[in-house]
Symmetry: C2
Subunit: 450 residues, 2 copies
């Protein structure tokens, strides 16, 4: 491994240049720009490494697949990433053009450098370095790069099901994505929350009314939704939909201790966001509420007049957009069924429009692959990674844990302030190099501990 | 009076032409168009009738004042109206240009023809007819025409207070405005509801959040407002703000009977508006809920994402716009104070922005002026007017009942489908002529019964 690290150090500038060139290729899935070209570029790259490469075609943009190694004595790690990026707008908020990446202040600036090109390229360069130094890999590797993550990974479950044969011997999945912990420490994430989205729509009449000539007589869809919502979650923060918490998986002792061990500077978090208080229930620990409990967020409520001053209107319709972040073992369909049953009971005139979602996922902290990953971080970065048993956001990890049925880990390489999805996205140069080293060490220890 | 009616009939076409010419003068207070010119035109007209005319100048557009008669033995009737009109847009929804009035299908079409030019012109032509036939009026008359009714009569209470001397002997106020009862029957209205408007604003943070990375941690201003609103009115339609109903004046027996006697074709009303049900409490009689009870209408609720599809945002702020229609003896300040006290108690982080209002007003059905008004309708239109003890909408009647301290009546001359405030506003020709006759008869019977 020392020789591989040395190779990485020797090729430091060449690897940074490779990343700059990769980021310079626009690949915006939301706008359909540059996706296939980038997929073909990756296909050529994987094939050039000696991998058995394929473009997996389906209903959406292709998944780029590459495989190396057939040893029955080594585990097979699937390295997942995505080659599509978020749209760059607003363009005028960027200090340098998003697809003309440059280095300033020890960081590489450009759209997609952190999310996710710099992170999966680090994995690929780790493979390249192993092959350059030893002509082989310490374990079997499958690379799977998606072109639709930034639009919600709508085809990942189909891909995993359709390509089952190609993924038959996968033992674990590793995703290098997202930022490290806010403290700057590296971390290993064991499970994102799921998400279920829906709209509630109330339409009571064919037209808006004069609030004087109809007030008291015509029902008000905003009041209908207010009263319905008030039956769905109480002011103490508890969701009051029948059975909502039924399937919430309790934390294991190990997870409990890991969650409690996560550092958080609450005053700094609150000041940074301008918060005077946290959400209810305020006595619940920070990371419990953020990751171990489901949420019910109203993303938007719109009905009636919203302009300046007053308008004496009694509106005909109103809409509420909601998402629920789900935790292991809640299910998207299960929860949306319960929402619908609740609405049918309390406000049957309100329409529920299901907008789908993503299942939650959780990998046990005592997975046999936890130790090699920890060792890899220590070896590559000189620091123990935090173990994060549950994450607030959502990722398509369920495709691995629930469809493939294997353990899944997220090992972020990006700085906490990578500004993914925002203008001036960036990746610290040293974190990129550390990512290549970490990726190389992961392969080594997985091979060693098998 | 028969000679006056004959005069009206003989000058029928000339009076219609006078209305067409009057409607052709744009006078849009919201846009400041043509207001002073129209005021001067009215001033000249009143002076030409031999009235003691004035333009009452104040902070806003002038009130046009005219007085005729000084008899201490006759009552003094103040005839209120407004010479400003609503903006005509959307222009392309009109079948003929709004300020080029024309007659089709027995109706005069044009902006302001019903609201309120045709109605106060009918009053003025009644005066003109009396003077033409007898050289005098049966009672003392003060005409007061406002140029700001369509922007909420912001200066009417100042005007009434400042010009107290000019109004010292007013005995009653008559407003010819609004449509007749939905059944087509003429009516006399004894009191509009008041109105109090306010906004509720919740701002919890300096920026919007990602609902996954912050959901459960950052408080959601939409949920804050939903839970606050749910404490302010229950799902059965009762306002649950402390003391909200304290001052609601009960109906007198007379008012109770009059309200119960008002005809309503509920299935037709509901079908016309596309309503599947009425507002809560559904068992309360139609006109009670429309006019004898206060309301709490949410005019608008806006916060977070409202576009197509989903957006996983947890918004930083949300706003609710509300109006409350008040009934006698509730007060604007009293009610807004109670709203503020409630919010301070249940959600002190929510800001209440007061937006003012209009006091409610009620004149007793057994006013000494009820009988002459009823007789006038019978004589002029051959039909008994419905007595409407309370109206759903709001008018500045409180200026008469609460500041001047006199009885106030609204005697609409316009057809129920006059489309005031909307495109294709219209007034039935025969209702305009009947309005002149009714105005003339009102003066006669007021003089007679004094």
């Amino acid at each position: 491994m020392a020789r591989v690290f040395a190779h990485v150090d020797a090729h430091r500038q060449a690897f940074i240049d490779r990343l700059l060139a990769y980021v310079a290729r626009p690949s915006i899935s939301a706008h359909g720009i540059g996706i296939r070209k980038t997929a073909e570029f990756l296909f050529d790259y994987l094939q050039g490494l000696g991998m058995e490469a394929r473009l997996l075609e389906g209903a959406g943009w292709p998944f780029v697949y590459g495989r190396y190694g057939e040893s029955p004595h080594a585990p097979t790690a699937l390295l997942y990433g995505h080659y599509d990026v978020q749209p760059p707008d607003p363009l005028d908020a960027w200090n340098s053009p998003p697809f003309e990446p440059e280095i300033r202040d020890g960081r590489i600036w450009g759209r997609g450098v952190g999310d996710n090109k710099g992170q999966h390229l680090a994995q690929l360069l780790a493979i390249e370095s192993w092959l350059a130094v030893t002509g082989n890999l310490p374990c079997n590797v499958i690379v799977l790069l998606e072109g639709e993550e930034e639009v919600g990974s709508p085809h990942i479950s189909d891909c995993v099901r359709d390509c089952r044969a190609l993924l038959a011997d996968v033992d674990l999945v590793i995703t290098a994505d997202g930022p490290v912990h806010e403290s700057g420490r590296p971390c290993i994430n064991f499970g994102p929350r799921g998400i279920a989205s829906f709209e509630l729509r109330a339409v009571h009449a064919q037209r808006d009314f004069h609030s004087g000539n109809w007030g008291g007589v015509a029902p008000n869809p905003i009041w209908t939704l207010v009263h319905l919502l008030a039956t769905m979650k109480d002011s103490r923060g508890a969701v009051t939909i029948d059975g909502f918490y039924d399937n919430v998986a309790p934390l294991s002792d190990l997870e409990r201790r890991a969650l409690d061990a996560l550092p958080v500077d609450l005053p700094a978090v609150m000041e940074g966001a301008g918060l005077a208080r946290l959400d209810e229930p305020q006595e619940r620990p920070f990371f419990d509420r953020l990751a171990a409990w489901p949420t019910f967020t109203i993303n938007g409520f719109h009905g009636g007049y919203g302009g300046p001053g007053t308008k004496t209107v009694l509106p005909r319709e109103a809409t509420v957009k909601c998402d629920m972040r789900l935790v292991e073992n809640q299910g998207v369909d299960e929860i949306l069924d319960k929402v619908e049953a609740h609405v049918r009971r309390y406000a049957p005139e309100v329409e529920v429009v299901r907008q789908g979602g993503m299942e939650p996922s959780r990998t046990p902290l005592d997975s046999p692959y936890t130790r090699p990953l920890q060792r890899a971080f220590r070896a590559a970065q000189g620091e123990d990674p935090l173990l994060v048993p549950a994450m607030g956001g959502s990722l398509p990890d369920y495709a691995w844990t629930k469809i493939l049925g294997v353990h899944s880990f997220t090992t972020p390489y990006a700085n906490h302030d990578e500004a993914n999805h925002a203008p001036n996205e960036n990746l610290e140069v040293e974190r990129f190099i550390a990512g290549i080293r970490t990726g190389a060490a992961v392969l080594a220890y997985l091979g060693e501990e098998s």
